[in-house]
Symmetry: C2
Subunit: 150 residues, 2 copies
C-alpha cells in the first residue's frame, strides 16, 4: 500500500508527476528560482516541517533537479541550487503561476507580480503552439498511439 508509483508510466506527464507531483516539491523549485539556496531559507519560506523538507530535498537531489554545492557565502554548510534539469521546470512553474493568478484569487485580492526584469512588465500568458508557431487549443492536438519497436 505504498504510494502508487508512476515512474514506469508510458505517459510523460505521469513520469513528471512521479518526481515533482507532491504538495511541496514544486514550491521548493519555485523558491530555488527565486534565489533561495539554504535549508533554513526554504524552511522559513515554506513553513514546512523540517523532516518533510529534508525528505523532499533528498528526492530532488536524487532526481538531479537540485544539486548540493559549497555555500556561496563561504560557510561550511551547503547550498541547494537548480541543475539544468531543474531550470527546465521554468515553464511548469510559470504555467502553474499563471493559472493561479487567473483562477486562485478573488477580485479584491492581490499577489506579488512576477515581471520581466528588463522592462518591468508582466509576462505574456503561455501559449501552446505548433511547430510553425500557431497557437493551439486542446482539441487541436491529438495523442498518437505508442510507437512500436520493429
Amino acid at each position: 500500500m505504498k504510494r502508487t508509483r508512476m515512474d514506469e508510466a508510458s505517459c510523460p506527464i505521469a513520469r513528471t508527476l512521479d518526481v515533482v507531483g507532491d504538495w511541496w516539491s514544486l514550491l521548493i523549485v519555485r523558491d530555488a528560482f527565486l534565489g533561495k539556496r539554504r535549508f533554513g531559507e526554504f524552511q522559513k519560506s515554506l513553513g514546512v516541517a523540517k523532516n518533510i523538507l529534508s525528505a523532499r530535498l533528498k528526492t530532488l537531489l536524487a532526481a538531479d533537479i537540485l544539486a548540493s554545492v559549497p555555500a556561496a557565502d563561504g560557510s561550511a554548510f551547503n547550498d541547494y541550487v537548480l541543475t539544468q534539469k531543474g531550470r527546465d521546470l521554468f515553464p511548469v512553474v510559470i504555467a502553474l503561476r499563471q493559472w493561479g493568478e487567473k483562477h486562485g484569487f478573488s477580485s479584491g485580492e492581490h499577489f506579488p507580480p512576477l515581471v520581466d526584469a528588463a522592462c518591468g512588465k508582466p509576462l505574456a500568458p503561455l501559449e501552446v503552439r505548433d511547430a510553425a508557431g500557431k497557437s493551439l487549443k486542446p482539441q487541436d492536438t491529438i495523442l498518437l498511439p505508442m510507437p512500436q519497436e520493429a
Copy 2:
C-alpha cells in the same frame, strides 16, 4: 496534523498546487483532455483506487475544474467534463508533458507522441515570453513585492 493548506498563500503557484498539487488530480485532468468522461474510464486508465478517484473528482468538481453533466451517450450516469477553468490548465499539462518527454525517459524508451491534429507534427516547446514576445530565462524575471492597499 492535517495536510498543510496553501489556499491562503500569497503566491499564485501555491494556490494552484493547493487545488491540483497532488499525485492524481492532474492525471485526471489529462485524461479529461483526452476525452475521457466517465468514472470507469478514469479508473481504468489511471489504475487508481475507486475511493481515491471518488474523492479527487469531488474536489475537482468543487474547484469548478470539472463539471458533472448528463452522459453524452444517453445513459443515466453522469459525465465529468472540463470547465473553462479546467481547460485553462492546458499549458500546465503541456509543460509537465514536455519536461517528462525531455527528462523522464531513457534513450531507448518511447512514449505516445502528442501532435498537432492538423499537420501531425509535434508541438513547439513552451516558451516563457515577455509582453513583446521575447523569450525569457528564469533570471530575466523578477518577483516584485506585494502591492499594498492604500
